[in-house]
């Protein structure tokens, strides 16, 4: 495709079934903008989505896409990227999808540092199953299955990423369209695993972590004079955990994607019609 790709080219003709006002609209728009801004087009882009309201995103976008099973979108994305490093791979899912059932995969995807981006639409609730506690729900957040609140501290996704050796950690807010698209764009451009936790409010089931709450409490790192290349500063901000930061918190400019270090640079879809020419050597090894 040509270079004049517009972000609407990434829109499918399916109308989203998200509740009116759901934060996921804004999150998705930012993802599409970032993809277009970084010179990608639907035919070289692969979007993998998890399960949840958030996971429906793959359906509403137009590109090569796979909507998988709950919590396992990251390994799919890794497989796609390794098999064809020329593709732009973006993975999306919810906080339940990514930090609960998929928490193990998250840690290992971060460690592996494959060149792709991962956007978690964090609404601090299970939306699709109609309002149960998620791993990022507050300790006292009352839901149908946790009438007294989960009674355990929420997962700090940024800390989890940092502890796992992340090379890019960012947080954004879906309703700040400009900044959100900008942050995701940086994640896409990052050479390695670009992780963005996006506050994407659920207007139906979460009356605590609302637009108003985020608008009031969010702190833009750009206004804080924060240097994202300073790991110590990033660590402090992440571990303090008392502020809702927005922006790139940590980025390692020296990051080399795993597949580059492993020398994977071929499109693996290209294979000969029969066994490789030197295949008899494989047999001879067994003499």
């Amino acid at each position: 495709m040509s270079s004049d790709v517009r972000f609407t080219d990434f829109k499918s003709d399916k109308q989203p079934t998200w509740c009116p006002g759901c934060g996921d609209f804004g999150t998705m728009n930012g993802m599409m903008k970032a993809l277009a801004e970084t010179g990608n087009d639907p035919d070289n882009t692969f979007v993998v989505a998890g399960i949840g309201c958030s996971g429906k995103i793959g359906t509403y976008m137009h590109s090569y896409a796979l909507h998988g099973v709950h919590g396992r979108a990251l390994p799919v994305g890794i497989g796609v990227k390794l098999a064809n490093p020329n593709l732009e791979v973006m993975v999306a899912g919810g906080d339940g999808d990514g930090y609960s059932i998929g928490a193990g995969h998250f840690v290992h995807a971060v460690r592996r540092n494959v060149d792709m981006s991962y956007v978690v639409m964090d609404n601090r609730i299970y939306g699709l199953t109609k309002g149960q506690a998620s791993p990022t729900s507050r300790q006292d957040f009352e839901t149908s299955t946790t009438p007294e609140g989960p009674q355990m501290p929420p997962v700090n996704p940024l800390a989890l990423a940092l502890a796992s050796g992340a090379t890019f950690i960012a947080q954004s807010f879906s309703s700040d369209a400009q900044r959100h698209a900008e942050i995701i764009q940086k994640a896409v451009e990052h050479d390695g695993f670009g992780f963005v936790n996006t506050y994407s409010p659920c207007v139906t089931f979460n009356d605590v972590d609302t637009y108003d709450y985020f608008r009031d409490s969010i702190v833009d790192l750009d206004e804080e004079d924060h240097d994202p290349h300073d790991r110590e500063a990033a660590k402090q901000k992440i571990l303090e955990g008392d502020k809702e930061y927005m922006g790139v918190i940590y980025q390692d400019d020296d990051s080399v994607p795993w597949e580059k270090r492993e020398g994977i640079d071929q499109d693996m879809s290209d294979i000969p019609d029969g066994a490789p020419e030197d295949a008899m050597d494989l047999v001879r090894e067994f003499y």
């Binding site: 495709m1 499918s12 003709d13 399916k14 639907p42 035919d43 070289n44 882009t45 692969f46 979007v47 993998v48 793959g58 359906t59 976008m61 137009h62 590109s63 090569y64 896409a65 796979l66 909507h67 998988g68 099973v69 396992r72 990251l74 390994p75 799919v76 994305g77 890794i78 497989g79 796609v80 990227k81 390794l82 098999a83 064809n84 020329n86 593709l87 193990g104 995969h105 840690v107 290992h108 492993e262 020398g263 994977i264 071929q266 499109d267 693996m268 879809s269 294979i271 000969p272 019609d273 029969g274 066994a275 490789p276 295949a279 008899m280 494989l282 047999v283 001879r284 067994f286 003499y287």
Partner: protein
Amino acid sequence: MPEDLNWAIGGEAGDGIDSTGKIFAQALSRAGRHVFTSKDFASRIRGGYTAYKVRTSVDRVESVVDRLDILIALTERTIDENMDELHEGSVIIYDGERSTMQDVEVPDGMIGLSVPLQRLAEDAGGAIMANVVALGAACEVAQFPIENLDESLNKRFGDKGEAIVENNKEAARLGQQHVQEEYDHDFDYDIETTDEDYVLLNGDEAIGMGAIAAGCRFYSGYPITPATDVMEYMTGRVEQYGGKVVQAEDELSAINMALGAARAGARAMTATSGPGIDLMTETFGLVATTETPLVICDVMRSGPSTGMPTKQEQGDLNMTLYGGHGEIPRFVVAPTSVSECFWKTVEAFNYAEKYQTPVYLVSDLALAVTEQTFPPEVFDMDEVEIDRGKVVDEDEVDSWLDERGRFQAHFPSADGVSPRAFPGTTDGAHMTTGLEHDELGRRTEEEAVRLEQVEKRQRKVETAKEQEEWDYREFGDSEADTLVISWGSNEGAMREALGFLEERGHDVRFISVPYIFPRPDLSAEIEAADDVIVVECNATGQFADVIEHDVLERVQRVNKYNGVRFKADELATEIENTLTGADAGATEVEAE
């Protein structure tokens, strides 16, 4: 003198049993003798009894037998463990100078050769070579020219340097001389060599080699006995062809990565054993419903749960045939011998891509750990054909676009197989999902579309049943009244059993089936026999159930799968139609 020689080395895990056994097996193979190896091992790394057994003959050997002619016993327990197989005239080689072996009592009628393994090894340059001294001693007993060991010692120790190799050769010769000089016994064995040069490999290696030959470029897995050898074999080799082996964090990840790679257009595979198959089952349905070609290899071991990780069983057949919620079109292919592990892997990749389905490649521990000799031509790479199915490129993509220019990745074609566009193909962008979807891959719950897609996926199986040859291998007397059927690794033992049965006056027809689903129709064969026996390594007879089911014709079916439950009036009509033969099919809502 018997035609075949049975040899074993046994001791504690960690004693280098495997590598010593392998050196001997390779030497025999290179000396033009057929070899069949087996292992007794426990699920622990150090300690615990373990043995490596080699059966060898000038003729092909297909199985193990209950007889041991030469035993290298590194521990006293080794003798006890093998008592049932030892016989009069069996030779037991042991190091009588070792404090733990001083009280060894060689059973009556057997020949005990006390060889100072450790001392001679030290003379050759290091106690670590004690096992090789024993190998040299065994060569003398079997009248197997010691030079035959040299090449396998090279292979085993080559990268440790010339000096180490030479020391090992010397160690073997010291062992040989010791027996020659100290024992003037005329042993019963005389290993003949031939001019043939065989290759020696196990089932896991054959699967890995088959995968590479078939163009597999992506392998992701999580280590588990007895499937790990597949991964270890492929590691470093796939990379030579531009591919990659990835050790994932678990089986859930392994199969999802392979799925991703397959969607990106790579021929991809994962291998595991029962517990891993359980975890992969979640994604198995996704693979099938997104119509992604994927080879999933299950090297079975004893279950359930972690069961007996190092023991043989064929207990996962039901799991591979029926595992997963909902209804999942799949192929299940089960190699019956080490060489078939190679060929069936090649086939599995072709089925996966031609029909865009997951293929279970089911092997078992006995195949996985058995090394067997073959003339190299058995793996004739020129015979390997690669069929990628309906892949469309930039030029062909147009003919699969709908009126609005959207690629129909799940087009309900007559044969059930849709076009496939690899990501990167211009105008081919499409989505695919584990949710029920329409021909564009978009989520739907519309009844008509649901029916269309269920039937489309089912239709691939029907197409494959018609287009491919789901044959079987036959041995014994094709006219016999007794029919024995087996699957998997039992073929070898059963082939040899035919000879014993014949000696005892039983004529048997033996059919070995490598295809579980789709599978050959054996009704005529079963009809023609008086007695039908199904042989398998499990308690309930899972394959027997399947075969029995195939010859039953009693039940008519009324099915509904559009997502809506039965309604009373509709049901009455359906049953009536079934009874009168008016519409013996499933309840369908016609697609508009």
